[in-house]
Symmetry: C2
Subunit: 607 residues, 2 copies
């Protein structure tokens, strides 16, 4: 723990500690038996890195394939391989991961010079927040499962209570690990760490696969047979029906409500672990580690939040109507029409916003950021590949709708919906990918200015609030056109050092808190009018898109599947084929929405 | 045509023309409306390249998804979408591609400074040879189809004769394009060229998808219903049976025999087109373009070819026995035992060879090649992803075999087969990927030496054959330890220039041809004993693996599918599930073998 604190300096002095260049003698260059005859130690290091990645990647691939085969066998041959077998495999993997994480925290990380650099782009606060939130939901889900099993203990084996306990242990450890160490660039025990990380990635992917297949099976049951209760209790215990007590109902409802979070949790963890894996052995350049990330501020946006909130509220109403109708025994066509109409109004609006945003990006005089950045590369790849799921479903739907050639309203609406979904996905992807590559010049200047302010212990701001703010903006505009000399910065740094400790103590005073609230409300309107119109529009657009994506995430996640329930495609392709297509596309589509939110927030902050 | 000749100089003067540095004013830097505010023209160029790749990639994605939806609809709903609809879509795409290729040859490529660089790594002779061979087979296939349709013209529509004609046109144009222009790095009309290439890639991928789904359907028919004839005539013409004439039989047999080549052809074309697409707008550094590729020589290997040929002959016998047995109405278990035994003997041998090769690579004092090389990157990605198909099938098979828990010989053999396949795939991948990254130092020295010889018009070699050869080898050894000064090289270049024309005329004289044959047979044994043991072992291993992969390619390609026919997994997973798994895995496994041959030949040449 003590070591962790050393590597995490006082918030205000962060930039100073990062600016101390790491001694080159402390760097552990990687070696690999395959590459011993390289001319330079750097080249050998790079090749050893690649080889290490190859071997740990192969390990993960084998684990994933083995697990997939297990899960498929469980689905298609319930006699030979049961759900319990799959759980045993997953529990073994989870225990391995927990051991590795403990070893990492106690052993690897405490070695001298284990973590020289931290990747500022990795593990952003809202990604970690999502892990914390979804992880907590998953723990709650497992608690419900334990409670449910305890009630039905007479017809369930005791082993079934053990699995959720292991799962809780795993999720808890993983949340702790990801919260504190997602930025680490580990410089020791490279290959062991890589293998550990890859086993964790594989475990999370398998957990996701199991959730998805179970979830869709569940969906199928609901829409087809409406015999939730019998099935819910598992495979072997088809006769083990929940007694009609309130607590049992609560467990069941909670399980259904919390289930989607568990699915998303596994995917986010996989992607975060992957970034840590990419960062193993990576040395970040001095300039790069100095770069400070802009903070999320709700200043300077008005129309975006308002319009977005409207979209969310209307969407929530449509969703609730849909859910009430869909769970009734005779779902009417009318609700499908309303559902599709909502999408058909919203999607073109989103597409237009994304296109306008892309055009504004082109008009803006901003440099492109071409520094290596595994987090961003992964974001781009995930955005593109997650969109494939939705686009694939839409194309299948389009062909079915056109070929079946029915001329009614529902058919036309469904067709328009599918076409618009494709357009929206593509335009949004272009907007987000383009935005992620813009360098955050203005905000960087702002951050610098802010650090200066902090160094001066808010003397300026307390004395003359609004003039100080004005000066800051002028300053940032000035810096935008010409960067200040480095010398000045150094002097500032020295001052910062002296004032740092005193300021962190004073900061928490209640007096300032009250002043800051007043300052915030006063400056909000001023900032709004002062931002350049381009930046303002970009922020409005990204905020609006964030809110739209939230509602578009909620609707399919919690049970609206009109593509499955309208029946046109289902009758065209046949039940099982369309089920497989939706089974593949829907989890990706849901993940796409969530991942878009992440990307759009990034664009919002850097705009 | 004339322009093409200008860019393709005399074979012996190749290195000279490549050494003329391209004038920087002739380079067409790419621009893109999205990226206008970059500090440097290079950065803007790079970003424009990325944007162009993104947009053309999106185009291809949409085409592929639309086509996939068409093909799936055709398979699952034969009433609304027929094979004819799919053919119409593909024909439209093919016509578009043909027009683009013609425009490229007539328009784009004739513009000033259209092709300043040529990627020496792209379009290697045996890849182009494979395209030529497989393309010719595909043309023949289409000719058979036309013939077959003409015979049955009374019950087929005339449109069905049109499709093969379009296909022949497309294949012919594409072969010409790939044969002559696969090395081009186009510097004009970047985005139009990218879009053209991507449409061609999408068309080939769809053609592959159609072939694979049709092929596996065909397979299913053969193994299940043995009613080839009725089905063979197509969907709508189930009553249109071929009259019992010889020519009709020939067409049918030829169709079945040539079918696999068509499938492979589409995949190879896609990968070649993808490399050209990656090379659009790429400028290759001077040093890189100077590098001369080593030629394929059969010198210095003995055990590899002998052992490999044995493996091929035995494999061919097993294959024929299998085919005779499998097409009989009552396939015996004995032939499956023989088949699996053959694999179980061969696969460990191959794995051991690959591991030994990897170890020797590590022992060798060779530099690693870290120059950017799209062909190699694609090779690595294709090797890894194609191996996934086989590995996935094997894991599913392992789980099924272990879980079904039957204790007979066939079960154990199948289990060993699956485990060994995984090990062989992984070890071979590591060996090939590692080998592709080794720089070809010794051979480069040899090539230089050869060029010198050519410059001297074989005066040495004709006068004193064996001493000259000896001197050459000594020379190459010397160059290996210390590179000659650049000055000397330049003088040699001047001499080469003077002698070049005279030598190319003299070269073809019959006298020399006879001498060269004598020289070859004499020097073969000498070269064999003179190569260092490491290089020799590497060559033996890669040659052996090439031959093994050839036979392992032939067996599944032409109809042996023991994983499908042994029935264990089929009964475990259920018919349709196992069929889907094999349907996904088998085409990839077949492509993996073919692609491995390519990679191993590369390793052989550079060893």
């Amino acid at each position: 723990m003590s070591e962790k604190k050393v590597s995490k300096p006082c918030h205000h002095c962060k930039s100073r500690s990062a600016s101390v260049p790491a001694d080159t003698t402390t760097i552990h260059y990687e070696k690999f038996w395959l590459y011993r005859h390289c001319s330079s130690v750097e080249q050998s290091h790079r090749q050893a890195q690649k080889a290490g990645q190859l071997f740990s990647g192969l390990l993960a691939m084998n684990v994933v394939f083995l697990g997939s085969a297990f899960i498929s066998s469980m689905i298609f041959n319930r006699v030979a391989i049961t759900l319990a077998d799959v759980w045993i495999l997953l529990s073994v993997l989870k225990v391995l991961c927990v051991f590795w994480i403990i070893y990492y925290l106690m052993g690897t990380r405490r070695k001298p010079h284990a973590v020289l650099y931290r990747d500022t782009h990795a593990g952003h606060i809202w990604v970690r927040g999502a892990v914390l939130l979804f992880g907590s939901c998953s723990i709650l889900l497992n608690v419900f499962e334990i409670g449910y099993s305890t009630i039905l203990v007479r017809c369930k084996s005791n082993v079934e209570i053990l699995f959720p306990v292991v799962a809780i242990l795993f999720i808890g450890t993983q949340i702790y690990f990801l919260w504190h160490h997602s930025k680490d660039c580990i410089q020791v025990q490279h290959n062991f760490t890589r293998c550990g990380l890859m086993v964790a990635v594989a475990t999370n992917l398998l957990e996701w696969l199991l959730s998805v297949t179970n979830d869709t099976l569940h969906m199928e049951m609901e829409s087809q047979l409406r015999e939730v209760e019998e099935r819910f209790t598992g495979n072997e215990t088809a006769l083990c029906i929940c007694p009609n007590t309130t607590i049992c109902r609560v467990f069941q409802k909670g399980y259904i409500l919390l289930y989607p979070f568990n699915t998303e949790y596994s995917l986010i963890c996989s992607s975060m672990l992957y970034v840590i894996w990419k960062n193993v052995g990576r040395s970040i350049s001095h300039h790069h580690s100095l770069e400070r990330r802009p903070r999320f501020k709700l200043k300077g946006v008005l129309f975006g939040p308002v319009l977005g909130t409207c979209a969310v509220i209307i969407g929530a109403c449509v969703f609730m109507m849909y859910q009430i109708q869909a769970t009734s025994l005779d779902p009417s066509r009318q609700i499908l029409v309303i559902y599709f109409t909502y999408y058909i109004v919203l999607l073109p609006l989103m597409s237009v916003c994304a296109v306008v945003g892309t055009i504004i990006h082109a008009l803006e005089k901003k440099e492109l950021d071409t520094v290596q950045n595994p987090t961003r590369s992964l974001d781009v790849v995930l955005l593109m590949s997650a969109a494939l799921g939705q686009i694939c479903m839409s194309y299948f739907s389009i062909v079915a709708l056109v070929a079946s050639n029915r001329r009614d309203v529902l058919n036309r609406l469904a067709l328009a919906y599918s076409v618009l979904i494709i357009l929206q996905n593509i335009s949004q992807n272009v907007f987000v990918i383009d935005g992620l590559h813009r360098r955050h010049v203005v905000a960087a200047a702002e951050a610098k200015h802010e650090a200066k302010h902090a160094g001066h212990c808010e003397q300026h701001t307390v004395a003359a609030e609004l003039p100080g703010e004005e000066e800051g903006t002028q300053d940032s505009v000035q810096e935008h056109s010409q960067t200040p000399p480095a010398k000045e910065e150094k002097e500032e740094d020295t001052k910062e050092e002296q004032n740092c400790e005193a300021c962190s103590q004073r900061r928490m005073s209640v007096l300032e808190l009250g002043q800051e609230i007043r300052k915030f409300s006063l400056s909000y309107i001023q900032t709004y009018s002062r931002l350049t119109w381009k930046r303002r529009v970009l922020r409005e657009i990204s905020f609006f898109l964030v809110l739209c994506n939230i509602i578009l995430w909620i609707m399919p996640t919690f049970g609206s599947h009109p593509l499955f329930e309208n029946g046109i495609e289902r009758s065209f392709y046949g039940y099982s084929t369309w089920f497989v297509i939706v089974n593949f596309g829907l989890p990706l589509a849901v993940f796409y929405r969530m991942h878009s939110i992440n990307g759009l927030l990034e664009v919002y902050v850097t705009a």
